[in-house]
């Protein structure tokens, strides 16, 4: 039978996953606890039968794999079949604040093959309560600070950045060629303009937007809803950032998680929220 072993297709007569492991270059010891064994996205704690088409990874803890094996190992916990679709996908993120920075980190961990990250701003101290930046990033352009983080997370993706203020006039040109665009702005007027502009000027684009994530209301109020057939709005749609109501990490990250998961669903061909 034919299986995928650490990213490479191999023919084997082995009946079980652990048996396959003992035959790997030098042999891994799947029973020893020093090797992580993953079968079709699931980490095994005991041996399992092997069948044609399986994807198996043996990862020795504390050993830096070669670049050719690293990418498949990084995707070993993905649901089978997802990695190839994600690698072929292109996604843009408009705004790299609390939402956009966390969306980008999720998409990098997913292995989305090409990202476009757009923001005009620099990292400042009040960003650190919710945005994916570090003290060492203060004063840096958000595009550069985020690109550096993503390079440390996943070196197998292309990350394009544009340091620009997004307007009604430049939005279509900036995002053309991207089938999925995440709206991750702070300002409600800017959200409305970007969403309307993208949907009216870029036929077929799917926009994953956010509305309503301020404060510390119930996590369960944040949801994803589809509108206009190709606009996904994540949030509780009511909790506005305003004087007396702040923006904090948990709900911002929950909402960013909704957006990133909707992007994942769209890439995997699932259109409903």
């Amino acid at each position: 039978m034919r299986v995928t072993l650490n990213g490479k297709i191999v023919d084997t007569e082995c009946k079980s996953v652990f048996e396959l492991g003992r035959g790997v270059g030098g042999g891994v010891n799947p029973d020893g606890g020093e090797t992580v064994v993953i079968l079709n996205g699931y980490q095994l704690s005991k041996d399992a039968g092997l069948k044609d088409g399986d994807t198996v990874s043996f990862i020795k803890k504390g050993v830096m794999p070669g670049r050719d094996e690293l990418e498949s190992m990084m995707a070993a916990r993905h649901t089978p079949g997802a990695h190839e679709k994600l690698k072929a996908a292109r996604v843009a993120v408009a705004g790299l604040g609390g939402l956009g920075s966390h969306i980008a980190v999720s998409l990098a961990r997913l292995g989305v093959g090409e990202l476009l990250l757009v923001d005009y701003d620099v990292v400042e101290p009040s960003n650190l309560n919710r945005q994916s930046y570090f003290i060492s990033h203060l004063g840096m352009k958000k595009t550069d600070a985020l690109k550096n983080q993503l390079a440390d997370i996943n070196g197998f993706i292309y990350v394009n950045t544009v340091d620009a203020f997004i307007t009604e006039d430049n939005a279509a040109n900036l995002f053309k060629g991207y089938n999925i665009v995440c709206e991750a702005f702070d300002n409600p007027e800017s959200k409305a303009v970007l969403v309307s502009t993208l949907l009216s000027k870029l036929p077929g684009v799917k926009v994953v937007a956010a509305s309503g994530l301020a404060g510390f209301g119930s996590s369960n109020d944040i949801r994803t809803r589809v509108n206009f057939g190709r606009l996904y709005v994540c949030g509780d749609e009511t909790s506005a950032a305003e004087i007396g109501c702040g923006l904090m990490s948990p709900r911002v990250q929950i909402c960013a998680g909704h957006q990133a998961n909707m992007v994942l669903r769209l890439i995997l061909g699932i259109d409903d929220a």
Partner: protein
């Protein structure tokens, strides 16, 4: 007409902007689809609505 799935009695043709304001929407913080077509913000004054129309309105609040 139908607005976000609900039947609304709109006896006379009105400017979209007037309808939106009378219904309590802030025109600068929404995205509007009329009969399946996205209406850009600069067309809110020239676009009209009447009883046969279907509107879908998405409201944005700040925070990100």
């Amino acid at each position: 007409m139908i607005v976000n799935g609900k039947n609304i009695d709109q006896k006379e043709t009105a400017a979209l902007k007037d309808y939106l304001e009378s219904a309590g929407y802030d025109p600068s913080r929404i995205a509007v689809e009329k009969n399946g077509v996205i209406i850009p913000k600069d067309k809110f004054s020239s676009e009209t609505v009447c009883n046969d129309d279907t509107l879908e309105i998405v409201r944005f609040v700040g925070g990100g």
